[in-house]
């Protein structure tokens, strides 16, 4: 990503998070964890306002998180109606949470750019299909890219950090 986000302290009353900016961790701390993580959690909102939580696989490219979904899967339906979503790594002890918006990726060159990193990470060959990407068994569908707006990282409470992307 070309622009580094602004580091702030998160609002977490009662958890012992310092109010001063000294001691926050750099954005590279979060980005490294977002890159190497294998299983992610994706929270979306159903049309009736209830949250939906599901594990997803995906890759970070150029500052966005790319993942594929079944076309009729709950998460895809939710994101088409409300693109706001939150993504986390699986480590609850030193978590990173990404709040952002998801866009439906339709550009073929961009879809193609997801396949090699995905195969390198999950040892699963992917190819571009009419609307998205698919594995060799035909499991696949549309691709979404999440662009971060606010990211939380918590190595521990004393170093808890919030990053805000100014776009």
């Amino acid at each position: 990503m070309s622009n580094e986000p602004t580091a702030e302290r998160p609002y977490m009353p009662g958890y012992g998070v310092p109010s001063t900016i000294d001691g926050v961790v750099p954005w590279s701390w979060a980005l490294e964890r977002l890159n190497i993580n294998r299983d992610y959690w994706l929270a979306t909102v159903r049309p009736d306002g209830r949250p939906h939580l599901v594990p997803v696989w995906g890759v970070w490219l150029e500052g966005e998180f790319f993942f594929s979904s079944g076309a009729e899967a709950r998460k895809a339906k939710n994101l088409r109606a409300n693109p706001h979503c939150t993504l986390s790594i699986e480590n609850c002890s030193q978590p990173v949470m990404v709040e952002g918006t998801a866009r439906h990726v339709t550009d073929r060159a961009e879809l193609q750019s997801v396949c090699a990193p995905y195969e390198a990470k999950y040892a699963m060959a992917m190819h571009v299909i009419e609307d998205g990407i698919s594995d060799a068994d035909g499991n696949g569908g549309p691709v979404f890219a999440i662009r971060p707006v606010i990211v939380f990282g918590m190595p521990d409470m004393a170093t808890a950090t919030r990053w805000r992307f100014n776009r």
């Binding site: 929270a43 079944g70 609850c92 709040e99």
Partner: protein
């Protein structure tokens, strides 16, 4: 013993392949994770419609998931306005995801039972008070409970066995 929820196959076409007769996970499989998971992910919805995720500690007891948090925290302010939550055991490779509603635990007797279970699980002293629970660092908060409506079980080892359980819970 709490009653077992009804077992169903969820709608998950990408995990089913061509054959939907893959069987299901057992409720005991789910209970083992709900009882033993140390960390949970709690998803709530902000007033403006954006989801929020935060790790939290929970105690599973009698078909419900108990936790405490500051009423001023983002998650508490969210579920005070919109009680619907999703909450999962950690470890996305094999996890149980609960969908339900958050309530404040009004019964002191119930708070005392959960305080004991919480202390046993996390080795962190907690006691029931007149209005909530108090931790040994003297922080007092309400005790909250998620009453489940649905639970989902999913494991990387046997993705086609993805299972949904439905609770007969009008407050879930």
């Amino acid at each position: 013993m709490a009653e077992e929820p009804a077992t169903e196959k969820p709608y998950a076409p990408a995990y089913e392949g061509e054959d939907s007769q893959h069987g299901t996970l057992t409720w005991d499989w789910a209970l083992e994770r709900l009882n033993n998971a140390r960390n949970f992910w709690l998803a709530t919805v902000r007033p403006e419609g954006r989801p929020h995720l935060m790790p939290i500690w929970c105690v599973w007891h009698d078909n419900a998931l108990y936790f405490s948090t500051s009423p001023d925290s983002r998650k508490a302010r969210n579920f005070t306005l919109n009680a619907s939550v999703s909450i999962s055991t950690d470890g996305a490779g094999a996890s149980v995801i609960i969908e339900g509603s958050v309530w404040i635990v009004d019964s002191r007797e119930e708070r005392e039972v959960i305080a004991k279970a919480y202390e046993a699980k996390y080795d962190w002293a907690i006691e029931a008070t007149d209005d909530g629970v108090r931790f040994d660092d003297d922080v007092e908060t309400p005790l909250y409970v998620v009453l489940p409506r649905l639970a989902f079980g999913i494991t990387d080892d046997e993705v086609s066995k993805m299972t949904r359980w439905r609770f007969a819970n009008e407050q879930g």
